[in-house]
Symmetry: D2
Subunit: 359 residues, 4 copies
């Protein structure tokens, strides 16, 4: 079994890692780390509210009994000598400092954005750009690390990149225009939107989000050539909004392809898409990376987010677009705290284990 | 005073007409009509639930006392000989039959879509395409009517056409891509979305809506030339969704202009836009047709829908678009049951009274 | 295997029966019936919207493939000669006519209220009043039926009666005061509350609900003596409201007991409550009929409704009441469309099979 | 004009004070104070978010232009020598320190709970217990202050005490049982509930709330005798919950009266209730302190909270209770951030000005 440490284990993403690794066939949780405040206590004590006695467990799944008595260690003092892989669930500011410390010795898979845009850092989605993992060897060399850092994309990027991939492969892309209607869980708990503000409302701005999605999508769909990733060269423009939905990002996509194609061609390309090399066989992978609905009232976040335990991207309303050259439009739903967060990172770990990057 | 009949007076749009005409300086309610079931009763009785005694009044504004004792007449038998104008708040199927009956003798201003796409029927938004009213003379002649039918646009079209107008005038348009996040009140009560279905959800499909918005926007921004309207020739593509908001449609717009322009140019054109000929002086008109926010967290439907009693369109986040040629993107909020429905129709009546089409 | 017919199979409660019976160890679905409109089609066709092709499947669980090709029969012509039990998921008005027709020959377990208040009809909750099943023999005789009708309680009654039972047994009851905050799914789809009406709101009235809950709770907790049920003699008063929650009724209960008791006594009585005769061993039964939280922020409908697949009642905030003699107050959450509807009815069937009433 | 200082002016309650005092006939805003961080800036700058430029204005009403250029002072250094009255909108912890400092010299009207339970401090609701103001003279003497501190009740207490008053006067009270369904705005912004947590949910616990409501209601309805308030002697028990509503607390009340009475008696007593001495003539007072609905679907928070600008308490569903001796039950809606907060405090100021306590 691969021994994993979860850093930032007491927060919502950390808890999602714990759920995603429960009964995992290849990976076991060997260490939990968090801030100094939690250090030295059992996991259960660390997430128990002192005054009310309430358990601060944020996942829909029940608390994982197996970790409740594990000790929580201080992240900045964590000894990873017996650890094979570090899952990082910390904020970007901290990630800038802590992740390189771990990467000196061990592979780090991160949900933070801190290193996503570095030249020698891939943003991996297994089945979409598995071959970008080769960049990790170059990263190791250039940084003199035994380990490496590999972040997953922003939760809004994931569904977009996944659904664009079969289109890009089959027909090429000129331009992509996307408007997101994002769920509240994407904002986390510390900077979460108040019920007061989102009720009967749409928040039209998520700071930094649009730039991330645009840049990451081009990088993920880019080619790995001569030791570096050349971002895909289509134009992309996003508007990201927050709606009163708990989980599951909805995205309205308009795409202009290089080759003309019919709605049925797009649907077929999405349906038969299984990744580049058997990624749907990985333990956390969905059997169908993309599920295409005929029902025009789908996808809906409440009905579709849980498809294949939140790892499938659901698509519907594929139609001819009437504004763009060779235009197609569709909607997608993607589970922002499953494929778009911890479980997506576990899937990356599985790819890297399978392909020998982690052992 | 211009004497108005409201047909479909007991429904939600009919009630909004009653509110919009309360204390109106030019127009007075002279007759209320509805289906046979309500006919012969006072308005109050007609909207009172027999079993519970509850008043079925659906507007946020309090019930209008002045009409409570007015009799409700049977719409299909309504005598309009002493009426100057008919406001029609009925469903499209009925409108096809009833509106022409009234139009034989009198002007009909309608919220229904039944006649919107007829060659000789304008879709008026005062200040945006006031000159299209000239088509009404041609309609009268061609149909041999003393009156005419003039529908207002779909509630989702209104805000889009209004905000595109100053852009189109100043810079021309190549293409428009729009994703809407529409409020529930737009669906009315009979086909309204269940709480069960919209809670924690987005509904990605509103049957017929996208085609209406695309077609109407091109028609409204078209030229009136040689006795007919030539639709504007830019491309347009929409995706219309329903979100858990009570009132106020939010729209995410991406526009490609013919001439290059800066964000500031667009903002300035919108801010200074006052219509073609003093329409903002009409009694129901907003003082500012378009309000442009600097705050990137605006517009929000809950905060902005009521601006200028729901008659202003609110715009924010005007930015460079990165996918389209000469691209600009922005968000707008428009009050779907004020400017987008009854009060918008009253504004049309005011324009037509001012310009001598109704007397 | 016991062969079951589901009458009203295409509606939401009918679908919940299909889910509740999937892979059932003792019962198999042998017939599906609905209105004449659906008759003669496959189940899949019967629930497919003709115009859009969308599947009208309303459960959270995925559609049950096993029944998709089963034919739907006309309920009023249903041949039940080879059927062992009829699950009725129809409205009360229809139930009055159809259920006696079936009961002449076979046992009918119903979610409708039509017969709940008849002298010879028990309202069964296994583990709470299993012994009331004896009344079915008397019903058979008095009505000259081979079968019988046994309805389950109103969804709001279920959680209240279950949590009161251990209190009533241990300490007696003088009076119960309850305010409910009910989920929208309880209203079904045909009379469902509009999103427009429930957003940012509470609806303070559910016609008929309070009387049902009051009467049913007294009947369920009553004694079976000399061939009839003597309702329990405590006073009870309810106020039932609807809140913006999808599933899971929350109830705020104040109870005055006959004997003095401490909060810990009540909590202990609830926790150790396992029914009268091994009912928690039945296939659909929860392992814990009542789950008592220490965390004062529980129970919450979204977090607790799914406990033990919606069959457990969750309780929290057990405290001394300061207004009533020997007063205790607490909150409960009960899953209105699991224990409170179809799956609760399946549990009744299991009890009756185990105890020889159905074979 | 009476010159007022608002302390805590930049928070949500402070902003509500600014709105409540706009165009006030008797009171003008003479000073604004907040924490050191805001001090020295204009009000507009103090509530402008530095990074985004967004105005942090939280009221539904538009920002009050008249105060935008007023300087914000440091609350702990505020010079109140030219001030006639201090409105305190600060948290309880700060209130304990700051309010006595101001009260040495000037009257302080507070929304904080810090001093509510002190023997020599009344909790005033004009029209309900105006005569308790006499206690302020005693407070002045006993504390050696020229001013005084008078807090308003908790927002959940207000509607309960107001509706119980006419019942208590006419029929006496034995016991009151109340379950609240409280709006989110009551929690303020700093400790506000996350959208993530309240969506599709009810939160069954609001720390400290129940005890406050119970104690305050008895004090407010108590007699002022021989220099002190004797709390009313009925029993009272509350359960307070939070629901997904923006503004407007709903309360389900069960009351046992000393004298028998009919539903009509209660309704009549509430309807004709106008306070003890012309309080409904005060500038901010509602014309009808209590509005009683016949429609059983009322009161609803969204429809009724704004009645008489949020200063009326709305009641409906008055019915016989079936559990308590001489029992009556009803529901009420009260605007928690109008009558229950700043505007309620302004109403207290008006009473005290009228009756000579402030000059």
């Amino acid at each position: 079994m691969v021994k994993a440490a979860i850093v930032g284990a007491t927060g919502i993403v950390g808890q999602q890692f714990i759920v995603a690794l429960k009964n995992h066939p290849w990976i076991e949780i060997a260490a939990l780390a968090a801030s100094e405040r939690s250090a030295g206590r059992s996991y259960k004590k660390a997430i128990t509210d002192a005054s009310s006695g309430a358990l601060r467990w944020f996942c829909e799944e029940p608390p994982v009994e197996e970790v409740m008595e594990m000790p929580v260690q201080n992240a900045i003092e964590l000894d990873i000598s017996t650890i094979d892989i570090v899952f990082s669930a910390i904020e970007s500011e901290q990630a800038k400092i802590l992740e390189p410390k771990f990467a000196v010795a061990k592979p780090v898979i991160s949900t933070a954005s801190a290193f996503r845009y570095d030249e020698d850092v891939p943003i991996l989605i297994p089945g979409i750009n598995s071959e970008h993992a080769k960049l990790l060897q170059i990263q190791r060399k250039s940084r003199g690390w035994k380990g490496f850092i590999t972040p997953i994309p922003n939760c809004t990027t994931a569904g977009l990149a996944i659904t664009l991939k079969p289109i890009y492969e089959a027909f090429g892309l000129n331009a992509v225009i996307m408007t997101s209607m994002q769920a509240m869980s994407g904002a986390g708990r510390s900077s979460g939107v108040l019920g007061l503000d989102i009720l009967d409302n749409v928040i039209p701005y998520i700071p930094g989000e649009e730039e991330k999605v645009q840049r990451e999508t081009q990088k993920i769909l880019g080619n790995f050539e001569e030791g570096s990733i050349r971002p895909a060269r289509f134009n992309i423009s996003c508007t990201c909004t927050r709606v009163n939905v708990r989980e599951g990002h909805t995205e309205s996509v308009f795409a202009s392809t290089q080759k003309a194609c019919e709605v049925e061609d797009i649907a077929r390309a999405m349906r038969k898409f299984v990744g580049s090399s058997g990624e749907t066989e990985l333990p956390s992978a969905p059997k169908h990376m993309i599920i295409v609905h005929e029902d025009p009232f789908r996808p809906q976040p409440r009905l579709d987010r849980h498809m294949e335990d939140g790892m499938a991207t659901t698509v519907g309303r594929i139609r001819k677009d009437t504004a763009l050259k060779n235009g197609t439009k569709y909607l997608l739903v993607s589970h922002n705290t499953k494929m778009g967060a911890a479980k997506g990172a576990v899937l990356v770990a599985e790819l890297l284990i399978r392909d020998g990057y982690i052992s």
